[in-house]
């Protein structure tokens, strides 16, 4: 029994995209690479790559200059000497140390909670039979379509009433609702978790919670990791709601803090760019390290969605 339980994650864990490719079978592999790309294709791709990266690169370039140099033509294309000074000032001015800590807490707590709740709910929707399953799933899908603007006003009233302005729970609690997460985990578990394993565990007398801990979590681990990263990125970059309930000098998240840098009549552009760079750097690092897995996760979610 134990071997059957641990086997699927053992080969699935390191590589969610592999997993998806294998399930689609050899056909998909051929469809993915029938013709070799010609030189034109490479030129277009490389141009697209450059366009994708240039604004990020230039953010760093601008952060290393000053207003005087940025007001010259042609604009600078390479680094100046001010990068670390500007970063230091931006760090202090925008309250970035606190902002990073806050954002890490918010994004960490919400993504972990979302992953956990989405996995158990997704498992129920994918593998358990119960009355109202279809209707409830429709509600989940419908929830994904509701714009957040329809929620912020009452939530804001609530936060004002509870005196939660500038408190992190005001940002964390509403962010825990993720219909996308439930949908994503359901789609994954539909295929990744064979019914026989659940049945075998059931015959052994395992309760539902034991099934969750010993069968579902191990099988869902690759998808949980991807969902966790996607949710981390999303909450890290969330703007509207934190902007409404947190203040820049009170207890900001990174986005709120950086948005405040641009005000004033002669703003220090290099400083703004330094803040923008800092705010994005952690996520770029995550993507540099786990990019392959994230790409696989997005593509897997897409095929089934």
């Amino acid at each position: 029994m134990t071997t059957t339980i641990t086997k699927p994650p053992a080969d699935a864990a390191p590589e969610p995209p592999e997993n998806g490719r294998r399930r689609r079978g050899p056909k998909a592999a051929r469809a993915g690479g029938q013709h070799h790309a010609g030189p034109v294709a490479y030129v277009i791709l490389i141009a697209f790559t450059l366009v994708s990266l240039f604004p990020l690169f230039w953010t760093a370039v601008a952060a290393s200059r000053d207003n005087a140099r940025l007001a010259e033509t042609p604009p600078p294309f390479w680094f100046g000497a001010n990068l670390f000074d500007k970063i230091e000032v931006a760090w202090k001015d925008a309250n970035l140390g606190e902002a990073f800590l806050n954002t890490t807490i918010v994004a960490g707590v919400s993504s972990l909670t979302i992953v956990f709740l989405s996995t158990i709910a997704g498992f129920a929707f994918a593998k358990l039979k119960f009355r109202g399953r279809g209707a409830l799933m429709l509600i989940v899908i419908g929830t994904m379509m509701v714009p957040p603007q329809l929620q912020v006003i009452p939530l804001y009233m609530l936060v004002a009433k509870l005196d939660w302005t500038d408190q992190l729970q005001a940002v964390i609690l509403p962010s825990l609702v993720s219909a996308f997460g439930v949908f994503f985990m359901r789609q994954y578990l539909l295929q990744a978790l064979p019914d026989e394993i659940i049945e075998a565990a059931r015959v052994d007398g395992a309760s539902s919670w034991r099934v969750i801990w010993h069968v579902v979590f191990p099988a869902a681990r690759p998808a949980m990791a991807v969902l966790g990263m996607l949710m981390f990125v999303q909450t890290w970059n969330d703007f509207l709601w934190p902007f409404l309930v947190l203040t820049q000098l009170g207890n900001p998240t990174v986005q709120v803090a950086v948005a405040g840098l641009g005000r004033g009549y002669t703003p220090d552009q290099a400083l703004i760019m330094a803040g923008a760079l800092l705010s994005t750097l952690p996520l770029l690092l995550v993507f540099a390290i786990f990019g392959k897995q994230i790409v696989g996760g997005i593509m897997q979610g897409a095929v089934k969605g």
Binding site: Q34, H35, L53, A124, R133, P147, I153, V233, R263, G291
Partner: protein
């Protein structure tokens, strides 16, 4: 099989030898019945236990606010005293019909929505098509084109504000190389919309390309083979095999992008930091999301802001229905 071992354990308790078999089977039966009742209860109710945390949170932070926004939209509520609500009926809604700023924002949202979504999805299709070839370092391209997606809206908008600067921006400098005049990207009616759309396009094209690529890889190879046998060129194959197979995915991305466009907020807010919520000196790039914020948090009329939110929602539902009807027609005709 632990269940049976458990069930076999009790007989020690049994009394005299002759009485043993019936007593054992009775207790075993009771035990089994209890276990199976518990098991049944578990099977029956645990699904609800697993989905309930999500739905509890949804009711508290999703459904309740949604409905309460509707309730608030029928009241006059001020930001400074959110608990003081006085009934005004449909006045907040009737007001919207005469509100030129609302319609201006609606128009801007529609225009920015179209000029950000259409080129974005078309480029994404093209890129996905190229990525679907056999490529060297294909993972590299895929990861790099997600970098804009990882960049926060705030960071992306702030750097594009500089790039689009009228006097010293790199884009105007570049256009100047071709003898073009300086463009006032912040104040031009159309130019500002194009600039705001550019931020959206930059952030989302790679992501959508990946979604299209995934759908392309799921197209069965024999469709292409039979098309090739019929003498279809690669372009014809793209038109007659790839595009029809991608139809559901394309519709899906259209819906998601429409919703995204209706929510545009941070890009126009930060695009002219000193104008803030007005969306430019002439409101030329004020979106509905931004207008809602201006009404609610700058002008402090939460009731009116709620009415705007619900009107947006109703418009979205209408758009959704149209989308659904079109997709059904398309499916019926194919």
């Amino acid at each position: 099989m632990p269940t049976r071992h458990d069930a076999a354990a009790p007989p020690v308790k049994g009394g005299a030898a002759p009485a043993r078999p019936p007593a054992e089977s009775a207790s075993e039966e009771r035990r089994r019945a209890r276990l199976s009742r518990r098991w049944q209860r578990d099977v029956r109710w645990s699904p609800y236990a697993f989905v309930s945390p999500f739905f509890l949170l949804f009711v508290a932070f999703g459904l309740f606010p949604l409905l309460y926004t509707g309730w608030a939209s029928l009241h006059a509520v001020e930001l400074t005293a959110p608990t003081d609500m006085s009934w005004v009926g449909l006045r907040n809604f009737t007001r919207i019909f005469d509100d030129e700023f609302f319609w201006n924002a609606a128009k801007n949202t529609l225009i920015i929505g179209i000029i950000s979504t259409v080129p974005q999805l078309m480029m994404a299709l093209g890129i996905a098509h190229i990525l679907n070839y056999k490529l060297r370092a294909s993972t590299f391209y895929r990861v790099v084109m997600l970098a804009p997606y990882a960049t926060s809206i705030a960071a992306a908008t702030l750097v594009f504000v500089l790039l689009f600067g009228r006097d010293y921006g790199m884009i105007n400098w570049f256009l100047g190389l071709f003898g073009m005049d300086q463009v006032d990207w912040q104040n031009g009616t159309w130019y500002s919309k194009i600039a705001v759309s550019t931020v959206v396009i930059w952030r989302w094209t790679g992501y959508n390309a990946l979604i299209y690529l995934a759908a392309m890889q799921a197209i069965p190879q024999d469709l292409y083979e039979s098309a090739a046998l019929d003498g279809a060129s690669r372009w014809k194959q793209f038109l007659h095999v790839t595009l029809p197979s991608l139809r559901p995915t394309i519709l899906f991305t259209c819906v998601v992008s429409t919703i995204g466009a209706s929510q545009l907020f941070a890009e126009p807010l930060l695009f002219d930091a000193n104008k803030g919520a007005s969306g430019g000196s002439q409101h030329q790039f004020q979106t509905l999301g931004l207008y809602l914020y201006e009404q609610g948090w700058v002008n402090q009329h939460l009731g009116r802001a709620s009415a705007i939110a619900w009107t947006m929602f109703l418009i979205l539902i209408v758009v959704g229905i149209i989308n659904y009807v079109i997709s059904r027609r398309l499916r019926a005709s194919s």
